[in-house]
Symmetry: D2
Subunit: 396 residues, 4 copies
Amino acid sequence: MGDIFQQKVRMGMIGGGEGAFIGNVHRMAAALDGRIELVCGAFGQSMDNTLRTGAALGIPKQRLYASYSDLIRDEARRDPADRMEFLAIVTPNHLHIPIAEMAIVHGFHVMSDKPAGISLAEVTAFADRLAGTDCLYGLTHTYLGYPMVWQARAIIGEGRLGRLRKIYVEYPQGWLAENLEAGGAKQATWRTDPARAGLSGCMGDIGSHAHSLVEFMTGDRMSQIAAFLNAHIDGRRLDDDGAVQFRMEKGATGTLIASQVCAGEENALKIRIYGEEGGLEWHQMEPNTLIERPASGPALIHRAGTDKALDAEALARCRLPSGHPEGYLEAFANLYRDFAAAIRAGQSGAAKGVPGIKEAVAGMAFLEALVQSNRNDNCWTEVPVRSVDEAKKEKI
Amino acid sequence: MGDIFQQKVRMGMIGGGEGAFIGNVHRMAAALDGRIELVCGAFGQSMDNTLRTGAALGIPKQRLYASYSDLIRDEARRDPADRMEFLAIVTPNHLHIPIAEMAIVHGFHVMSDKPAGISLAEVTAFADRLAGTDCLYGLTHTYLGYPMVWQARAIIGEGRLGRLRKIYVEYPQGWLAENLEAGGAKQATWRTDPARAGLSGCMGDIGSHAHSLVEFMTGDRMSQIAAFLNAHIDGRRLDDDGAVQFRMEKGATGTLIASQVCAGEENALKIRIYGEEGGLEWHQMEPNTLIERPASGPALIHRAGTDKALDAEALARCRLPSGHPEGYLEAFANLYRDFAAAIRAGQSGAAKGVPGIKEAVAGMAFLEALVQSNRNDNCWTEVPVRSVDEAKKEKI
Amino acid sequence: MGDIFQQKVRMGMIGGGEGAFIGNVHRMAAALDGRIELVCGAFGQSMDNTLRTGAALGIPKQRLYASYSDLIRDEARRDPADRMEFLAIVTPNHLHIPIAEMAIVHGFHVMSDKPAGISLAEVTAFADRLAGTDCLYGLTHTYLGYPMVWQARAIIGEGRLGRLRKIYVEYPQGWLAENLEAGGAKQATWRTDPARAGLSGCMGDIGSHAHSLVEFMTGDRMSQIAAFLNAHIDGRRLDDDGAVQFRMEKGATGTLIASQVCAGEENALKIRIYGEEGGLEWHQMEPNTLIERPASGPALIHRAGTDKALDAEALARCRLPSGHPEGYLEAFANLYRDFAAAIRAGQSGAAKGVPGIKEAVAGMAFLEALVQSNRNDNCWTEVPVRSVDEAKKEKI
Amino acid sequence: MGDIFQQKVRMGMIGGGEGAFIGNVHRMAAALDGRIELVCGAFGQSMDNTLRTGAALGIPKQRLYASYSDLIRDEARRDPADRMEFLAIVTPNHLHIPIAEMAIVHGFHVMSDKPAGISLAEVTAFADRLAGTDCLYGLTHTYLGYPMVWQARAIIGEGRLGRLRKIYVEYPQGWLAENLEAGGAKQATWRTDPARAGLSGCMGDIGSHAHSLVEFMTGDRMSQIAAFLNAHIDGRRLDDDGAVQFRMEKGATGTLIASQVCAGEENALKIRIYGEEGGLEWHQMEPNTLIERPASGPALIHRAGTDKALDAEALARCRLPSGHPEGYLEAFANLYRDFAAAIRAGQSGAAKGVPGIKEAVAGMAFLEALVQSNRNDNCWTEVPVRSVDEAKKEKI
């Protein structure tokens, strides 16, 4: 009995073949804590790529598949003690929902890369179907795996900043400053293609992270936005840059900046939140530090680490004593660890500690509202609310 | 003859009595390089305050005046070899232009605190009158006195960033997070009073610095804006916070954030500018460092200092070898030093190296446009162009 | 054939039971890249602890052993296709060499925590024995796994700093500022006990890291030292703090500081190296950044990342694009990844890219010299040279 | 009466002609607060230089002197209401004491650059003579003028760090990495010449600052040292680099590093002090920040500024609200401001808040001890105690 509990959780993967970036990130994140085993995959668009990738990963040939439908169908036929338990989806965006749907139909839990899909309609329809199953759905908003993001949420939740007033979140990158898609760079090509990336480029890719971070840290909802989107390369069909003014449901206002044409910038996600009593600041590129500035008195440097007096949820996401830096892969691994634990614990719907279908729908609603605002002369636009609960209600 | 040249430039001052902040800053900035002597003043609203302030400054009683008009009139009657040569105006905003006008009518140069006045009409009318005199007019946009701001301008001017695309400028402060005006705090009271502060609070006070910094560094003009202004304290009649989307004449777009309700923030002016080939970042709170990020390769840390290979204009604004930090007062002193030199050099209109009437008008146009945009549902609004040259033309 | 190559490398572990810190770090580091499988262990001092730890790790009972000798003996009897291939030793220092010796006698490769042992004699004797086998020996000087440490080594190796002059390395920690051993804290108890920790406390634990970093980055040998050791807690029998003046063989001089009583410090290893043409600076707590300061001109910020133009060895140790922070576990994992690759490649003696027996001996020689210097009124003391080559020669 | 009080304090200056660095620094520092007027000088070695320098400063010809003795003698003959009140000495070290002696003999207060002289004997003899006068003597250890240095002293004085254990102070510069003296650079030439610089080069120039900072912040005395001095340029006759192990009278130990051959470094003075309960860290290059690290809990960022809750002495040394950076000149000006106030207040001996003869003697004792230790194989050496009180006693 104890033995069953300790058995590694079996993962399958769609996408992440040679030449992809994020697939290997998911694999490392899943491997880190030794609780998950990758047992099968359909990694590339060609079987050749899948075979090479799979061999390098030590996966036996019979569990390397030509397509996601083959994988799902064949795994579903295997002995339950042996078949994959959840499917990681790391393809371009347009395939997220089709694959996730087939997976839950066959009873597999799903861990999907973000954004959840390519339209709000698609994702809400999926949410409806998910609600009728016992499957777990997780969305890899990596940054919500960082301990100091949880620490910030706890500080705000305790009311230590007072009523919130201002939120500044920014996410400058530089990698699309050049016309990489012209040269056929894989990432750049699909991310700037509406058919595969969906309704937004930069905002879908990284603005969505900024949005989820705001809602997670504040425990509030971005309810109205005015969006300004740009594309800087001739012929680029999706935004590579933008800014969003927003209002939160509880009254705070803010600015969200996301750009992929800030030449020289790496991955500089940063958030500042101010209330009546003080403010917080967190930078993804130095993730183990969280600055708290009370309205008066010295600022405080909160630090990640198993030896620190942190909020319990933050502490649970640290592996090392302070001063031994943890980073992006550890944050990512926290999502996988919690997802695996939720599977073993028999949870359904959302995995405790992991962004799920609610965040998936909220993220798509945000993207849809901002594209609409941008088209309508940047006017203030409501972010549609369509919670999973409502989805459930509607179904009845 | 050489002796005349070396004589200190004689300054008078209106405002800056006991309890004021910026008056003493102007005095220290003017004193630092030993080229300017404060010879007279009308410092306070009461003669008592003026007498106490003047005595503490070692100014003889006969040159302490009850009002600005007394001061200007009486100084004008003194022997030219002895009377003040220029007048520093450090009062609340509504008095800037009336005093400046009387000063130039009597032939005195003017160094004014910013913003130039309380309305665009007022400032452009003044610009017209100034154009008909030989007087110099300087506007203390302090941050344009920092050497690394000049270095940034030089790097951009040389084209090292390529064509500019994105500009992010932010200016969070926290000092108005509380209702200080209710307690009668001097600064807070007039800065939140439309009669004395003018059409904008936070944007007039610090947004105007951010605006001038953008135009100065880029050598370009902010031509269109969409503004979002807020007031967070019940009964506060002017904005204490806001954000502006903007477009530059040459095509770059950007976001300007300014706030005085970011509890815990000090004076965190920061600017980032990105072009096709790289980006720059400068923080006022660590002013001796300028980061340049090429699109690829290591970022560069440019540092202020007389021993550094800097642009000539930047170098001319350093007093100390690198590693001996210079700060706000030194930046401020650079404006005064250049203004005094311009007087000795017999310049008129604008003092070389000092923001002048052109920046004064541009700043007011910016404020007027943003108040208008905010009223009109944050719609895109043209920033009116009314250069001094045009003012001159119109007059003819 | 390809299949055999891709098979995971099978690892056993001694130490790292419940309550230990470093054991789990080794396990995560080994797991991260999916190339190593933990197949057996003797984790705790009690079989109970080992069983609990092993079950939580999903290791079958029959491969959980009561002692290291049981483990080595029994694994040696298993089918070669199934038995462990290398043994990770994560016990207190006094057991490192006894276990390592038994392991190599039975043909197992060894990955040992540092320092290698408790005396120079013990470690050189082991080096002799190792030289007569085909076994690999690795020593987890974690910090040598960081990409920017390799980048620094490459910059120095290329001669970009010119002839080296000064080296400052410092390693302040605060965790032993209190008398933790009095309270029975596991780590503190054995690390302050000469019988288990060896001849030095703080220097053995962290000074040895600083020493290895200096020799690795410079490609030079610390040949003479004058050491100053202290113990700050009544009754503490080993140093908890110290400073070392040193001379390198090629002429540079430097200072090494290590302390575990710097209350409030985390794990602040930092190194600066200066040559005639410039300097370098690296902090372990922000490991993805390496500052290079040429004698004149702007400093350069080198950054880790798969998308950066780095030295090939540095690049090979990055997993993520720049701006996605990698940390301590990734550095550690680099050692394990290279060690596993060396096993598959059939290397013997030292694993390419992993500190080995040479560093083990050098580290112990350093510790022995500093204890001697400290006893002799801090006088200059030669660090004995006893390279593996010499060990081999002597044997003949 | 009030009028007399407000009169500016009249300063003379020896040294600081064209081509010198520190003279102009003293002048700006003295000018900043508008309380001091430079009335006379013997600036250069040639009268020509003095005349040019004086003219540029607006000093009338009749108060420009060919030599320091001329200046002192002639000023002493002027009307007391008009003659200089104190003399700033900014020459190379060997002239400090001869000039200071003549000045006090004629009743002038003295503000001297550091170190006080070229030998301990010379300085203690001067201390004896000073004790017999009503003159003030100030020594410009600039860094003791920084507000956050006073804040650190206050935190330590309150016992917030507990009993002190460790002190690390470092002062790397790079400007003498090359053989500048060979090219005749003025600064480099005299600073490397024992006849003009005294018994030590680097330690005399900057090690003495580090020493004074340690004693000031801790309120304790460096009682024993072991020193390691180096010269890196062929033919350089004084140390350009060194390290010192030290013991404080109350038991703390530490390391002092000072170097002028750290190519690429600017003026990176930094100090860290640790006690049983926590630690402090201050960097001269970011002087408005002081980090306090309690043994547990978040670190605190103390910030300079007139709006901060600081120790009264620290606050008294701030001119601007936080976030408006003050720097080196402001710290320097604090010494001058306090010195001028002490003159007006009729103090004698030491000026409140300004390093004086006690620090002068302590600094020379430190230098003499370290040169001796270095000669004696770096052995532990007592720093001789010869306080002013003792000097006074001896005289009796």
